[in-house]
């Protein structure tokens, strides 16, 4: 306390004698979100004991060692990690002041296209029954081929999103809505609605075990650092905060938007590769509603839909909250229907909270 006092006296007088009070510094948003996460876990823990007489967080089985219910925790992070990868990209788009509704469809299209280049030639001695390119001989290809093609799909889709947003100036909502419909169309057209299965072993390892979690964690750290410590991140925040100011400061706003949307598209396609590898199959309906889940993770994590504010850390915590809620509903043996209704409520609630926060900030 004494230290604070000294500091506030030293630089006390601002413009017009305004004083700065370090103790009234705004708390980082991420901390609020983190406390919400803890609160939700506590609620589920309490509900667990009340409703079904079991612990949500802690291990209660006698034949298993450990304090925590590790299996549940693993499922939670595994469940959110693939959509979490998408959410990292969506977060950047939202901070930029945009929105991306196309990620779920990009997942569908990419999964189909990538998987069709990842198939084995023979299954149990017979030619691959689902093989799309058996005649062309594009089977048993090195894993790099489907991965590169898949990422290429995401880069292309993201670039098109960014191009329409930046160059034609149509609202991002419309541009990415168009991509959402079109990319889903590509996913269905690619194999005329047939699922694509039997990937090579090397492709199948990409999404196996806890690899999705590791990828999610690495990407989260990478983009956290990029958003915080590079020119790219600074410009993304600046454009989302005040696009005109960014333009007047000489930032090439249009080019930057294209880059951000392209990165978001690439991350969606990476999620598609991991997902199709994990499931060992790709279907045209893959990733439906993922865009909304990803947006929800970001919004729950305190990313302001009006742009300029929030961080990847917030999104990661938002993703965990998301996972805890889904897992908690399953744990309480509630139907999936309730989950979705509740999920809708949380998304709206989080945005209402953000509005309210902004109004309060504007008043003070």
């Amino acid at each position: 306390m004494a230290k604070d006092k000294v500091r506030s006296q030293k630089g006390a007088h601002g413009i017009g004698g305004l004083k700065y009070d370090p103790s009234k510094r705004t708390r980082p948003q991420e901390l609020n979100v983190f406390m919400a996460l803890i609160l939700i876990v506590v609620i589920f823990e309490a509900l667990g004991w009340m409703v079904i007489g079991d612990s949500f967080l802690f291990n209660t089985r006698e034949n298993v060692d450990g304090i925590f219910n590790v299996r549940r925790l693993r499922i939670i992070i595994l469940q959110v990690s693939i959509i979490g990868i998408i959410a990292i990209g969506v977060t950047q788009v939202i901070i930029l002041g945009g929105i991306d509704l196309s990620s779920g469809s990009i997942v569908g299209a990419t999964a189909m296209i990538a998987m069709s280049f990842a198939q084995v030639a023979e299954v149990n001695g017979q030619p691959n029954p689902k093989g799309m390119f058996l005649e062309q001989g594009w089977v048993d290809l090195p894993v790099l081929v489907p991965v590169a093609i898949g990422l290429g799909c995401g880069v292309l889709a993201g670039f098109i999103n960014g191009f329409f947003v930046a160059v034609t100036k149509i609202p991002p909502f419309i541009a990415t809505l168009g991509m959402m419909v079109a990319a889903r169309g590509v996913a269905k057209w690619w194999s005329k609605g047939q699922p694509i299965s039997f990937p090579t072993d090397s492709y199948a390892t990409i999404g196996s075990g806890m690899t999705p979690v590791v990828l999610f964690a690495l990407l989260a750290i990478l983009f956290y650092l990029i958003m915080k410590y590079t020119v790219y991140g600074k410009h993304t925040y600046a454009i989302g905060s005040n696009e005109d100011a960014a333009r007047m400061s000489g930032i090439k706003v249009d080019r930057h938007k294209i880059i951000v949307y392209t990165i978001a598209g690439s991350l969606a396609s990476l999620a598609a590769i991991v997902l199709s590898s994990k499931n060992l199959t790709a279907q045209a309906g893959m990733g439906i509603m993922y865009e909304l889940d990803a947006i929800a993770m970001a919004v729950i994590g305190g990313i302001s839909l009006s742009g300029g504010r929030g961080s990847i850390v917030g999104t990661v915590i938002g993703a965990l909250i998301f996972g805890v809620i889904i897992s908690g509903f399953t744990f309480l043996r509630l139907d999936a229907y309730y989950q979705e209704i509740f999920k809708g409520g949380i998304i709206v609630g989080a945005v209402v909270l953000d509005q309210w926060r902004q109004q309060r900030a504007a008043r003070t």
Binding site: Y20, Y237, A238, G250
Partner: protein
């Protein structure tokens, strides 16, 4: 005391479709000189500034800056050449802090990697502190985001940009229009600091007292044209008002401003 001409325009013109917002402006300012531009709303003051700083592209005319003819492609060009502008809208990013805003679009980096260059936070902070010292701007907490600052503080941040980058010419578009008495005083003190440092300034203002307090020369615009070029010593408030309202026009501008 005044040095050579730092900025000169000849026949500077801007049409927005059929609207002649600025017509044949011939203007010059010397090193160390502070010039005010006055005029009613819509007289062409801000339009004039937007052509010089290349926020908009001029319809025709020539601009010389620092001894050579210039054709800036955009505001960053103008800024790199040494014209620093405090826009009416301030052009600040609300969610960023003071150093971030000062260096927006020209960040200091530790090593270059294109868009992914690593920011030199410490360098930017130190340069910011020095710039603030030079302009005698006091901002209690540099890490505060602009959103949480008062109008006066925001204005000072915008002005401090000029000092941080040793600009050759500063332009301020109504810097005190939205400020209270104390905050206005603070901004005026900064302008005096610039004057002492010999930095030339173009000041757009409606405030007659302020203009007579601060500048050497007053230019009056009316309906997109320059109608007067007055030395402060040879004029007074009433005289300037007469030019602004159209009661008077200086003979050398009469044929153009008919």
């Amino acid at each position: 005391m005044l040095g050579e001409v730092i900025l000169r325009t000849e026949g500077l013109t801007k049409h927005y479709g059929g609207v002649h917002a600025l017509e044949d402006a011939d203007f010059e300012i010397r090193k160390g000189e502070h010039v005010a531009i006055m005029g009613d709303n819509g007289a062409g003051k801000s339009t004039f500034v937007r052509q010089i700083t290349a926020v908009e592209q001029k319809t025709r005319g020539t601009i010389w800056f620092d001894g050579r003819e210039v054709n800036f492609a955009g505001p960053l060009d103008a800024r790199e050449a040494g014209i620093e502008t405090v826009f009416q809208t301030l052009a600040l990013a609300d969610d960023l802090d003071v150093p971030d805003n000062l260096f927006l679009g020209r960040e200091k980096v530790l090593f270059k990697l294109g868009k992914f260059s690593i920011l030199d936070y410490r360098g930017m902070r130190e340069a910011t502190e020095e710039g603030l010292r030079k302009t005698a701007v006091k901002i209690p907490n540099l890490n505060n985001s602009i959103r949480n600052m008062s109008g006066g503080q925001r204005q000072c941040v915008a002005i401090a940009r000029t000092a941080t980058f040793r600009s050759k010419l500063t332009i301020m578009d109504e810097p005190t229009a939205a400020l209270g008495v104390q905050e206005t005083e603070q901004v005026e003190n900064i302008i005096r600091t610039l004057k002492e440092a010999g930095e030339p300034l173009i000041l757009i203002s409606h405030n007659m007292r302020q203009v007579f307090d601060l500048v050497d020369r007053i230019i009056v615009f009316r309906r997109g044209r320059m109608v007067a070029d007055l030395n402060k010593e040879e004029t007074d408030g009433q005289d300037v008002v007469a030019y602004i309202t159209g009661a008077k026009t200086q003979p050398q501008f009469a044929d153009k401003a008919a």
